[in-house]
Amino acid sequence: MAEVANPGWGYFEHEADIGVIGRGPTLAAALEQAAAATFAIMADPVQVEQRIQVDFEFTETDPDYVLVTLLNRLLAEARLQHAVFSRFQVRQDGERWQVEAGGELWRSDLARGTEVKGATLTMLAVQRVRGGWEARCVVDV
């Protein structure tokens, strides 16, 4: 499967939906990049201004489920706030994960991409790679 090259995040092929990839020197950094890839499907991150911030935390031991939980919490928070995010910070404290996301409420002149419904367990993999970590899964659009 062809992959789209990008320093921190990118996409891999899936026929119906979209595969997202995040890479970073730490697991937390790879998760941040996967979140960036997911939200870039919905809006150009360059256009998204930093006007609001949400934070939450959750507990999870399995790195695969950390990715799915993180993305789905972020998607739910965005829908509840009627917002789109473009900046993400993930901190790990053992099994606890603290998350901050920054962005803005949807405004009429912000170009729309495609809505992401949720992160799936398909092709889900969070693993060490040379130089750090990689987190990937298919998101349903």
Partner: protein, 473 residues
Amino acid sequence: MNLQGLKEIAPQCWSQPAGAGMAEVRLFASRDLLEAMDEKVREQISNVARLPGLVGAAMTMPDAHWGYGFPIGGVAAFDAEAGGIVSAGGVGFDISCGIRCLRSDLTLPQLLPHAEALANQLFRDIPAGVGEEGDLKLSVPEIERVMLQGAHWAVEQGYGVAEDLEYVEERGRVPGAVPAQVSDLAKKRQRGEMGTLGSGNHYLEVQVVDKIYDAAVAAAFGLRQDQVVISIHCGSRGLGHQIGTDYLVSLARAAGRLGIQLPERELACAPILSPEGQEYLGAMNAAINVALANRQMLTHLTRAAFARILPDANLDTLFDVSHNTCKVESHVVDGRARRLYVHRKGATRAFPPGHPDLPQKYRKAGQPVIIGGSMGTGSYVLAGLAGNPAWASASHGAGRAMSRNAALKRWQGRQLIDELRARGILIRTRSLRGAAEEAPGAYKDVERVALATEQAGLAKRVAFLRPVVCIKG
């Protein structure tokens, strides 16, 4: 797809024999459609064939493509008494996504002078695309009423007329919805999302009957040449997405404890008779009712938009059918009626003529089946057939032939919209990216899908609908 190991046992029906721990797989499609399908379709439906309590074969429709868990276009029936399961991965995130088809009393010549104004009005009035909300903001208790009452709730609130309900699957409301099994987060996500179209492959399309294949059935459905019809494709919005999210993860984690060996985590499932299985069914049925109410509200908004531009137009509901569900149905297996949980993920129910659940008007003709095509090609209305070999199921769309990433590399949204306009198709969208992803060329040839559907005995073609205006989500 490599066809090795498959045998065409009937027209457009390919069988992969049962093997160790795996039931038979049947793929309904022409050879060329099958050869063009991704190998993953066969892999995914083979995984479905390994699930406990499967009755008969695991099947795919002619529009099948690679999904998550089940392939899109996957059909599988399970018997609760035989240890059968219900799978969140067999329904998906967009629970009860489906199509509401409205027929008007307008003809194409009456529409065309107003098509531009109508496109603009629909685009103003129908909330569509990511980040768009409806005018109605519901409280959680009110959303719980929607979950129980479905389209009936919408009609009671003044969205549409009681006659619409006769032509909605399950008469507009499924039993078995349990709001208590739906998370608070899912309920909150729905507060501003009633009466919204959504994004991705969702659309509202104004179409014209371009060709009639079966005059008698078309007449029974109230369809005639050059008639203007409207198709609304959407689902249960944020509530369904969150239920999918919640249960996919919880059921995948529970599989080991429930004694189920999942060939793929995304097939997340539980025995139907287990507490977990019952909880999912209660939540899923709640989402089905929300989807039915949502399409009822969109019907009302569509009528209001038409009334502003073409005040004399009447829009009646032709039919409303979902294609991402698990439904309890009675089917005859080896001469005996059995109660089965039929999963259709990207597949439409297609009841035959004479089925007692059909509206009286369609009882002789069979259930209207809608194959939604791309915005540049067209859609088909078909009718259910007696002897359907796939638990009364048929194709639901053209089916993707190319990934979204590949489509983005190949087409530009603006250029595509201009090209379609030159062909007489008016597109309105807030997402140029979405338009490119949904390029007609990214889909299979809907004509071949509809033909294969008919030749396989799944449903017969009644009419072809050509797009005139498309509001893309």
